[in-house]
């Protein structure tokens, strides 16, 4: 990233700034913090898993049984096709390759639509484009900024793999694949940003493309006969490149070609539309829909409903899949005691029972649902900054009620998301005639709500005292806590460090019963944070 900012900083005020370069600098400035985090995460997670490889593989029995994983369709569906697990590189790619790819893809989409369509939507491009810079040039330069970051992330993954001594061909293929996948989603988001005149629609569409791509990869990996589906998905192409095994270049070339095509289409589209317009015209008029406009609380629900549907679709599809594969995986693990023992050592106790398996995966539910609360509170602050909140703030409604309405609606949305996940897990298990009670599934999903509440409270606290940090603060308890626990366990950190993570206090429900003292403790802390948030929000100036 520094190579991009360097020329900008040397262009002092005395030198006339080239307008195009100023636009690039603007784009870079808006994403650099997130870019640094994503690159660091991609490199860090890769390094971490690669470092733990030797200790896991010290036991030859474990190594052998890991190989047996390759045969199980359910495992392949959820975690990808395990290849070359007997090498550091292959094992690392299997464990975190998909996670990093999804993370990078999601960040690429959010960053791209935020700095292109989002800025344009907010009217901030009107001034920018009144100068010598064309709309098309502005789009190209902003997209290039995000693309640079994704390439850096792929490069970082390659470098880390090379540093831990993995074969260079595999390291390069995997790094290139990750980088290309990032590029592809930047291009998709850029195109969506040209087609739709609103940021939410553009982001939603691009995320849907990502979700479908992931699903195609899962189905293609799980069902051998449908393996060709993977050629249609960027995640599938990443798997087909088979790093450290076959090191195939062709899938990467296909991904490169697709990226180039989508990018060219996006750039072409940018040249054929108006500023603030899209290829899809906004409806020029429609009947008023007065539902949920009667109070600030109702309006908070209304603003939530559309994004909620998107989150529910994504989370629901994933947990339906988990439910449907749970029986197969647990039976497989039960038949392979060595493997089950290995999993237990790695902290996945009793994966051999459906309850144990789902309990483990319900814990992860805290990440997307916590993320949902952080993103929604971030949107609340964005509405304030963009001055849409001003007219409501001038109504006879106390600040307490304004923030309270948002918190209530978001909390209700989070509970509903968890319920959807629980119900669809149950439905998935029931569809393959497994045995898991609906209530047990729901309890497993609800068990993570204290962590979600902590996320919401952290986001609210930031909204009250340091509004610019809202989304990041909201991501700390769930995503930060999860990473802290995983990293803490990997490096054998002292107990108190691991205990900082809320995940350390989560009972595996429905395998065991809810840990009520811990649940009440977390809820209490969240309550105190929300009270502090209210005080801050009432005292501060609105940012408009």
């Amino acid at each position: 990233m520094t190579t991009v900012t360097a020329p900008a900083t040397t262009a002092g005020s005395s030198v006339p700034v080239v307008p195009g370069r100023a636009v690039t600098r603007l784009g870079v400035r808006q994403i650099r913090r997130g870019a640094l985090i994503v690159v660091a995460l991609a490199a860090g997670m890769t390094a971490l898993v690669a470092a733990t490889y030797d200790s896991i593989m010290a036991d030859p029995a474990a190594a052998g049984s890991l190989q047996a994983l390759a045969g199980n369709p359910a495992i392949r569906t959820l975690f990808g096709e395990p290849v070359a697990l007997d090498t550091t590189g292959g094992f690392t790619v299997w464990r975190v390759g998909t996670v990093i790819a999804v993370l990078l893809g999601v960040w690429a989409i959010l960053a791209t639509t935020r700095i292109t369509r989002g800025e344009e939507d907010a009217g901030r491009w009107d001034v920018l484009l009144s100068g010598r810079v064309t709309l098309r040039a502005a789009v190209i330069r902003h997209v290039a900024a995000v693309m640079t970051a994704t390439v850096a992330a792929g490069g970082a993954v390659s470098v880390v793999l090379l540093l831990v001594g993995a074969p260079s061909a595999g390291a390069l293929v995997h790094g290139a694949g990750v980088g290309l996948l990032g590029l592809y989603f930047v291009a998709v988001a850029a195109l969506a940003g040209q087609v739709f005149p609103a940021r939410a629609a553009a982001t939603g569409t691009a995320v849907a493309v990502l979700g479908v791509g992931l699903l195609l990869r899962m189905v293609g990996d799980g069902i051998i006969d449908l393996g060709w589906l993977r050629w249609l998905s960027p995640f599938g192409l990443l798997a087909l490149s088979s790093p450290f095994h076959q090191d195939r270049i062709l899938p990467l070339l296909v991904l490169l070609a697709a990226t180039a095509l989508v990018t060219a289409t996006a750039v072409g589209a940018a040249g054929h539309r108006d500023v603030r317009g899209g290829l899809v015209a906004t409806s020029s008029g429609r009947q008023a829909r007065l539902l949920l406009l009667g109070s600030v609380e109702a309006f908070a629900v209304r603003r939530l409903s559309r994004p909620w549907t998107g989150w529910a679709l994504g989370i629901g599809a994933y947990y339906l899949l988990i439910g449907a594969t749970a029986v197969s995986i647990t039976e497989f693990l039960a038949d392979n005691p060595a493997l089950a023992g290995e999993a237990a050592n790695a902290g996945f106790a009793e994966l051999g029972a459906v309850e144990g398996f789902t309990a483990t995966l319900f814990a992860i539910l805290a990440l997307p649902v916590g993320g949902f609360t952080a993103v929604r509170m971030g949107a609340f602050i964005t509405a304030e900054t963009d001055r849409q909140m001003t007219l409501l703030s001038a109504q006879p409604v106390s600040r307490l009620r304004l923030l309270g309405a948002e918190l209530l609606a978001t909390a209700a949305g989070a509970v509903a998301l968890a319920t959807v996940a629980g119900a669809l897990t149950w439905a998935g298990v029931a569809a393959v005639s497994g045995r898991l009670g609906l209530l047990a599934a729901a309890q497993g999903a609800w068990n993570i709500l204290p962590i979600v509440l902590l996320s919401l409270a952290a986001a609210a606290l930031a909204a009250g005292w340091a509004p610019r940090a809202t989304a990041v603060a909201g991501a700390l308890p769930a995503t930060g806590g999860f990473l802290l626990l995983v990293i803490g366990e990997s490096v054998d950190a002292p107990g108190w460090v691991r205990n900082l993570s809320p995940f350390a206090h989560l009972a595996p429900v429905p395998l065991h019963t809810v840990d009520w003292p811990a649940t009440l403790m977390m809820t209490g802390i969240a309550g105190a944070m929300i009270a502090a948030a209210m005080i801050g929000y009432q005292r501060r100036d609105l940012r408009s």
Binding site: L293, P396, V397
Partner: protein
């Protein structure tokens, strides 16, 4: 608390770091009057309004809306309606939906009058706000504010995006509000508009209040230019209060500026043989340029 005042501030001060955006403002706006709030860019007008609405918290001092503390927004906002300087609307809602949202969360609406205003402002309510122009966004906020029964309207440069035709509709609406007994607090850069609708004006410069006066008196506070022709001896004006810059532009002609009450000057002129007299009042623009000064820019 005295509720004869629609708005009252005492020592209201707002600092942003080292910048003092508003410095010790003490002001009273009577119920029922149309009050103009003027000043150059960055003078602190919008800051004052944000403090009055409790959108920002004062560094020092206090403000009241009909005797209710400005910080108690749930009560104070029941008494007012607001049009911000730069109107941003929820992009996905149509004009009709925004009016409905404002009406159902606001201090009460006269729906018949609202429909009339929509008609007069020629507003298409079926469009999503994303597609509204600057002027149309402003009109939505104006219709929402004028249609309320709130006794106080706080308008921050509400006509900056309106065309001359709509500007006229706006003036009519302000007059109607005054007739209904509503108080109007109007921040504006349009001097003609201020002159047409305001009873009193306050002038702010660099965060400080420098003048509050009825609009008619503003002129009186200022120099007018007197030109006269005479025969015989020129009148002696050397020691007359308020007379300055006495010049003789030609034979039998005299020009001077007059500040304050004209009595003493007229007395002095009565002794001379004056054949013609012309008094030119300064334009409002000249008055404001005088007030705004050049150092005000920051």
């Amino acid at each position: 608390m005295n509720s004869d005042f629609a708005l009252r501030t005492a020592g209201l001060t707002k600092r942003y770091g080292r910048l003092t955006a508003l410095d010790d403002l003490t002001l009273e706006v009577c119920a029922g009057e149309v009050f103009g709030f003027l000043g150059p860019n960055g003078a602190g007008k919008s800051t004052t309004i944000r403090l009055l609405l409790g959108l920002a918290r004062p560094t020092a001092g206090q403000a009241w809306v009909f005797g209710v503390g400005a910080a108690d927004v749930a009560r104070a906002h029941r008494l007012l309606a607001y049009v911000p300087a730069d109107v941003a609307l929820w992009p996905q809602l149509t004009g009709a939906e925004i009016l409905h949202l404002q009406a159902s969360t606001g201090p009460g609406v006269d729906y018949a009058y609202q429909a009339e205003l929509v008609e007069r402002f020629e507003l298409d309510l079926s469009k999503p706000a994303r597609t509204y122009s600057t002027g149309n966004r402003q009109k939505v906020a104006l219709v929402a504010a004028f249609a309320t029964r709130a006794p106080l309207l706080v308008l921050d440069e509400p006509t900056s995006g309106l065309d001359p035709l709509m500007e006229r509709v706006f003036r009519t609406a302000v007059a109607a509000a005054r007739d209904r007994g509503q108080t109007v607090f109007l921040s504006s850069h349009q001097l003609a508009e201020v002159e047409a609708v305001c009873d009193r004006v306050a002038i702010l410069r660099a965060g400080r209040l420098i003048q509050v006066a009825p609009i008619g008196e503003l002129r009186g506070l200022h120099r007018s230019e007197v030109t006269l022709t005479y025969t015989g001896q020129p009148p002696n004006l050397d020691t007359i209060a308020g007379v300055q810059d006495v010049r003789q532009p030609g034979e039998g002609r005299l020009r001077f500026t007059l500040t304050g009450p004209p009595g003493p000057a007229l007395t002095a002129l009565a002794d001379a043989d004056i054949t013609a007299l012309a008094v030119r009042e300064p334009s409002l623009e000249e008055i404001f340029l005088d007030y705004y000064g050049t150092e005000a820019v920051r």
